[in-house]
């Protein structure tokens, strides 16, 4: 079995943690490195959480530390959704392992060179690390096969009503990545809001009875909110956890339960809606050159089944 090599660039964050727990068991991709970026919480927490969770899982994968702040803008955090230190108040044992002796962008580049064009990146935080890598090593665009991005909002956002957090935090970085020429798949909120797990469904994970799945179940339960039917993807009153980052990872692992379409995607970098993603996917106005793919929908039941199936391997 030849699993495709991926780097996970992330900002843990509860849903990054969910994704990392799932990542160890993925069937079609294998994680060759984890890189941390400032995002949901400050870099000192995201890198520590990345180290702590991989060690807790016995997941032998190097962790590199990346950007402390967005390219040109002041940092924004999302502590209200992730807790002050990113784990919703939960604790992991102090990690004994350390970050590698290279910054994220250098580590990404070195791995890309080594893998001779086979590397794929799953980017589930602000795109600062990837943008810096592309700025420093323009030839990287020919060395990365695909990027899977959790980010953006087509109809409605979360950080502002028009913007999704990851792209909103560093719009210029997102623009650099979208315009890089590397094929990418964008998993926007419109998609990831479809990939939730409910309070009833998490019980099955709780019953698996080992420490890895217990941590998954516990942090997932802490992240649960009551949904509002105002959002098109939602029914009023359902209690669930938004699994934004796992959605993107599982798409990278196996896209068979998703619908996606090739289109043009970019991001506004001016005005008060800077960070709002735009696409020609639904417009009469069509771009002549398509630069990526918009992932539009997922079979939620099948998605939850895959989460169960991967977690049951612990």
């Amino acid at each position: 079995m030849n699993r495709r090599p991926i780097i996970i660039d992330c900002d843990p964050g509860y849903d990054d943690i969910q994704a990392l727990i799932l990542a160890k068991q993925c069937e079609n991709v294998r994680v060759v490195a984890v890189t941390a970026v400032s995002g949901n919480v400050a870099l000192k927490y995201t890198e520590k959480n990345a180290l702590a969770i991989t060690e807790y899982l016995g997941f032998d994968v190097p962790v590199a530390s990346g950007a402390e702040r967005p390219l040109f803008r002041d940092p924004l955090f999302a502590e209200e959704h992730h807790g002050e230190e990113g784990l919703l108040g939960m604790n992991l044992p102090e990690p004994s392992k350390k970050v590698v002796d290279k910054k994220a962008w250098d580590f990404i580049y070195d791995i890309a060179v080594e893998l001779k064009g086979e590397l794929e990146i799953v980017a589930v935080g602000p795109l600062t690390n990837i943008a810096i890598a592309l700025m420093k090593y323009p030839e990287l665009k020919d060395l990365v096969k695909t990027i899977y991005i959790m980010g953006g909002a087509i109809l409605s956002g979360n950080s502002r009503f028009s913007t999704e957090f990851n792209i909103h935090v560093d719009p210029e970085a997102a623009k650099r990545v979208f315009e890089s020429g590397i094929p990418f798949y964008l998993c926007p909120l419109d998609l990831t809001r479809q990939s939730y797990i409910t309070d009833e469904e998490i019980v099955k994970v709780e019953e698996m009875g080992n420490k890895e799945t217990k941590f998954f179940a516990d942090i997932t339960k802490l992240s649960m909110v009551t949904f509002s039917g105002n959002l098109p993807q939602r029914k009023d009153g359902i209690v669930g956890s938004n699994m934004h980052d796992p959605c993107t990872l599982l798409f990278a692992d196996d896209n068979s339960i998703f619908d996606f379409e090739e289109c043009y995607i970019n991001v506004e970098t001016f005005g008060k809606n800077a960070g709002k993603t735009v696409t020609d996917c639904y417009s009469d106005k069509q771009a002549e050159v398509k630069n990526g793919y918009l992932v539009k929908s997922v079979d939620r039941k099948a998605f939850v089944e895959r989460v169960y199936s991967l977690l049951s391997k612990y």
Partner: protein, 316 residues
Amino acid sequence: MSKKRIPVILDGDPGHDDAIAWVLAFASDMLDIKAVTSVSGNVNIDQTTKNTLEVLTLLGVKDVPIARGCTKPLIGPFFDAPSVHGESGLDGPVMPESKLELCGLHGVDLMIKVLEESEEPVTLVPTGPLTNVALLLITRPDLKDKIERISLMGGGLLHGNWTYAAEFNILVDPEAAKFVFESGIPIIMAGLDVTEKSYITSEDIDKIRAVSNEVAVIVADWIDFFYKFHRDIGYLGAPVHDPVAIVALINPDILEMRELYVEIETEGEFLRGATLGDYSSLSGKAPNVTAITNIDREAYVDMIVEATKKYSEVTM
């Protein structure tokens, strides 16, 4: 027990779909049409004004004051849409020569006159760029209370058509749209979200043509022309946008709507003219728009067919 008619001012840039909106409006016994004003948009103001007079002549309109409105957007440059509507703005059938005359007032002044003279609040139905309506509100804020609501065609919450994010009417004059959307006057928005579902197929066009009076044949010809552009980009029929703003007033039962706050973006590389909807209730602002989200398309087609039948009695 006749129902009280809704006093309205029609404001448009005809335009095939503006013209069909007006076919619906003048055929309805629910509307009391106080004035019709033209605005620059699909084509230039000379042409939209000429088209206005010819369309209203075709419909046998008498005793409704008509005025020519704004020549260009409030701030931005003029641009038009000849690729969609043809050079005249109403390409296709030969139109009857106008037997009507303009009332002599500027379009905005005619709106002011109607509002001042009306005892009850009037509904505005703009189906072009919002330049006239914005200028009305800028120059006479005291008349806001005389406006019941604004039922408009414009914008798109999911997507645009002239750019990725912006719909034509809003893109032409985003500053005007922003002023109108922030005015506090209740807005019913027939955006692309519903109007692209409001398409008329070739079979539907045959049904309209079969009514076989002059208006019906010309409406069929208009939609035929309008469909040519849209067929090439993959539509199942011609999206006849503007009449949905009239349907919202005379037959809202065939529509689905929801209230939300909508922001008009006037800046940006991609977002100028975008209508951004606050689905996630993060703006902290009360809804300013009732957005139409869906339509019973078959019923919509029936309304257009039935409206054209009303013109069988018209003697020119």
